[in-house]
């Protein structure tokens, strides 16, 4: 099947990718935009499922506006298509293969933008694999897209601003969380205040959530973390303990909650699979959540024509993602000779300013969500780290003792990261555990090698239906 040829392929229709596509297209660049969700918006601006009304939050309005804008933009949008392979052809062009309702698709372009967003990172504790425990970001999906509150008696735990956003969302839906368990102290949040106030709108939203939670009388346990979850076929009890500034548990003051759901998250990790798969130079950046491509302000990576933007290129948040998307769209149009230098400079200047303003805010939020040494050190030896393959911390450290000196060796020794999620859920934590055990810096143990397929796909769907009689078989070579 001959590939469809275009000027630009964008993977990911969240705030970064969709804006890059719209901006480039507005300047005459032919764009194909892929997303695995049925509607554009990414996670933060995720659309409600079919037949549910749009929500009434700022994110819902922004997401709705983006989808309206995309619909009239001229961008060729492929929703529900899962990109499972990206490769660089011998002529330097990018080939992207996807699968979805439109069937298998192959598109080729001289430029590729990876805007694939982030995954949630959860530091393991006893019982975190029990049904009833879900991610904090997962809870936002249920609340804003599926119209569902995760439980009747939920506990919310972890780090960062999502704790309060989820609590406020639950309260709006008529469910009072039993407690909010925040890794940070009040003082930690006060110290971030000046940076947060650089984005008054966002700071005001945060203040609104705090007021909502206070008014409802939801207890907030600062400097606490989940120590264990108990239950048989599903969780029934959450145990929390106080922690120190590094996130390590302080003994002797456990509290218990009889909860039917635990919503827990410790920040985000960039989903930089495409740059890694294509061999772009990567570096570890704890503040940005993990491995990120080395790139300039426009998202240009070390590979000619490959761009990385949005949270997938380092956690910076939604506003920075929009700016990065617009700037990337402009630079693509400029490189493709659709936008002259004078106009390019004029249009990109305000985006650069916005980017500088947003960075301070992003740094403060990134600091709240970065992985802490004591958190990693507190993972119990018997706790499962790699959920897919049931690998415990003890087994990871035993592999380290047996000579596994980087995460790919760890994978060979223990199968960590070899299961269906391909290390997306455990990679950062497993690597940090190994590094801590070996007494080396995090970057010294590297990251899992990325390989296709980027998403699990059924072979039958790739091959389609065929008859063996239609397969051309050459004459056997003479003996």
């Amino acid at each position: 099947m001959a590939p469809t040829l275009t000027d630009l392929i964008v993977v990911g229709a969240g705030p970064a990718g969709a804006n890059a596509a719209i901006t480039a297209c507005a300047h005459g660049v032919d764009v194909h935009l892929f997303d695995e969700a049925p509607k554009a918006g990414g996670q933060v601006w995720r659309a409600p499922v079919d037949d549910l009304p749009e929500g009434n939050t700022p994110e819902a309005h922004e997401g709705s506006a983006l989808r309206d804008c995309l619909a009239v933009s001229g961008v060729t949008v492929h929703n529900g298509q899962r990109v499972w392979s990206t490769l660089i052809k011998s002529d330097g062009e990018f080939q992207v293969d996807s699968l979805g309702p439109e069937g298998p698709m192959t598109v080729q372009a001289p430029r590729l933008v990876a805007a694939t967003g982030a995954y949630e990172r959860i530091v393991p504790f006893k019982g975190w694999t029990l049904p009833g425990v879900m991610g904090l970001a997962a809870a936002t999906v249920l609340l804003k897209s599926h119209g569902v509150v995760p439980g009747e008696r939920p506990v919310i735990a972890g780090a960062g601003p999502l704790l309060l956003a989820v609590a406020a969302g639950m309260l709006d839906a008529g469910v009072k969380p039993l407690a909010i368990i925040d890794l940070d102290s009040r003082v930690d949040w006060l110290m971030r205040l000046p940076a947060l106030l650089t984005r008054p709108n966002l700071a005001a939203r945060g203040a609104g959530w705090v007021a909502r939670v206070r008014k409802a009388g939801v207890p907030i346990l600062h400097r606490h973390a989940v120590r264990a979850v108990d239950g048989h076929d599903q969780m029934t009890r959450v145990t929390v303990s106080p922690v120190d500034a590094s996130g390590a548990f302080i003994e002797g003051n456990d509290k218990h909650f009889d909860a039917d759901a635990l919503v827990v998250g410790h920040g985000l990790t960039p989903g930089g699979d495409i740059p890694r798969l294509l061999g772009a130079r990567m570096q570890h950046d704890a503040l940005r959540g993990g491995y990120v491509p080395q790139m300039d302000v426009f998202g240009r990576t070390s590979i000619n024509g490959l761009f990385a933007i949005g949270d997938g290129a380092g956690i910076r948040g939604v506003d920075a993602a929009v700016t990065a998307g617009q700037a990337c769209g402009l630079v693509v149009a400029h490189e493709a000779d659709r936008l002259d230098t004078i106009r390019f400079e004029r249009e990109v200047a305000p985006l650069r300013k916005a980017c500088n303003r947003q960075n301070r805010f992003s740094d403060a939020i990134g600091g709240a969500m970065a992985l802490r040494s004591g958190q990693v050190a507190s993972v119990p030896k018997s706790a499962i780290v790699c959920r897919c393959e049931d690998v415990t911390r003890g087994e990871i450290e035993a592999a380290g003792d047996a000579g596994a000196s980087d995460v790919n060796q760890l994978k060979h020794f223990t199968r960590t990261g070899m299961g269906p999620c391909q290390g997306r859920m455990c990679g950062e934590v497993a690597a940090s555990l190994l590094a801590q055990h070996l007494g080396v810096e995090r970057h010294a143990v590297g990251s899992f090698t990325a390989r296709p397929p980027l998403r699990p796909v059924a072979m039958g769907e790739l091959t389609g239906s065929f008859s063996y009689d239609d397969i051309p078989i050459p004459e056997p070579a003479p003996l």
Binding site: L52, T129, G147, A458
Partner: protein
């Protein structure tokens, strides 16, 4: 019942079967969410330790909610409920 549908909406109901038991759920609601709301939190057991597992990330990353629907392994958090779907939990591989 664990999850709570917060919107008393007028969505069309469809009937799916879960281990041969019919279940009425809103059309288009992702199967993982529908199962969660109906109290089916445990979807499968992990292949090595045999420990109970349920939907976890709800955004297509963790693969914990991959179970057999109409004879195929699918990520139920990405699969909207449609009339007549057959979900297998017990004894599934």
């Amino acid at each position: 019942m664990t999850g709570k549908r917060k919107i008393t909406d007028h969505r069309v109901s469809v009937t799916i079967t879960v281990d041969d038991v019919p279940l009425s759920v809103p059309r288009g609601e992702p199967l993982a969410t529908a199962l969660w709301c109906e109290g089916h939190l445990c979807l499968r057991h992990s292949p090595n330790a045999g420990a109970p597992r349920g939907a976890f990330c709800f955004m297509g990353v963790c693969q914990e909610c991959s179970i057999e629907v109409d004879g195929h392994l699918v990520q139920t958090c990405l699969t909207p409920a449609q009339e007549g779907m057959t979900v297998r939990l017990k004894g599934a591989p």
